[in-house]
Symmetry: C2
Subunit: 153 residues, 2 copies
Amino acid sequence: MNEPCESPNGRLDWLKSRLQQAGHKATHQRLEVFREVIQTDAHPDAETVFLGVRERIPTISRNTVYQTLQFLVDQGYIAPFGIHQASHRYDRNTMPHHHLVCVCCGKVSDCTQSGLNLSHFAGFENWGRIDALHLELRGICSDCLSKQEIASS
Amino acid sequence: MNEPCESPNGRLDWLKSRLQQAGHKATHQRLEVFREVIQTDAHPDAETVFLGVRERIPTISRNTVYQTLQFLVDQGYIAPFGIHQASHRYDRNTMPHHHLVCVCCGKVSDCTQSGLNLSHFAGFENWGRIDALHLELRGICSDCLSKQEIASS
DNA sequence: ATCCTTTTCAGTAATCATTCCTATAAGGTC
DNA sequence: GACCTTATAGGAATGATTACTGAAAAGGAT
């Protein structure tokens, strides 16, 4: 896989050729949604992308932006930021700890093993002050793994 | 601060006395919402808590559950799980990296310094297979820090 | 260029989680 | 028990996202 060129126009040309290679259409809308995401370091949300693209394509619909962003994520051209959860969740454990999340069944396990704390993240004084650290390890739990083995055997 | 007792009923009694100490009412609804969160390791969301509590208090409203959960978080009796974002966000950088998030202005910066990768998390073989690692460092960026200094001087 | 097929787009309606608003109800104090 | 404050219930409103549907556009074959 070729790496994308760093300049915005270079990356757009890169996306164009990769879309065509993959048999997808390099539409104006797709390219402009992609441009909107790559031209900033701000990790924008869908509404921000929509407002930005609408400056250039006034008739674009919100739905197209949502679909296109999802398409670009599915194809690996952009990444979803962090881990989005549909709803707020609550934890009975108020002590600092990490989480193991099964992407298959959604189960969350606490992980109290520290080995990692704020002291590992010196060197960001110029960024500002770091107060907290949230770590999620994502994978497939042993229950789901064994179910997959049974299913494939 | 006294630590909560481990048994559910012990923790409920503990909450009751702490609420009264703090001048808050130890209502049936509050205690049952708290019970619903602490009786499971599943890190439930608001709807799950609502459905569970409704088994015991059929007239409870969804709104009360939402408010009570927020109250319990504000008072430190339970913790919010992970990091909830109102909306999906997108990242032009598809390589593995971490994020620095300013809780004040919401700005997100990439952090490519690794020093941390999956190899640090051996020892979870019995949990299952870990595929990915998401780390967020949260704090206040230098811009917001200097604004605060100006405001307080 | 014409026709056909498939993909993509726009616009509206629906859904889901959450918050806002307001009147009622409950708890604690005198 | 009257009074004051806090908490609750219920419904309406909001915001983000998805589902649905029909129109438009793009590509390929003739």
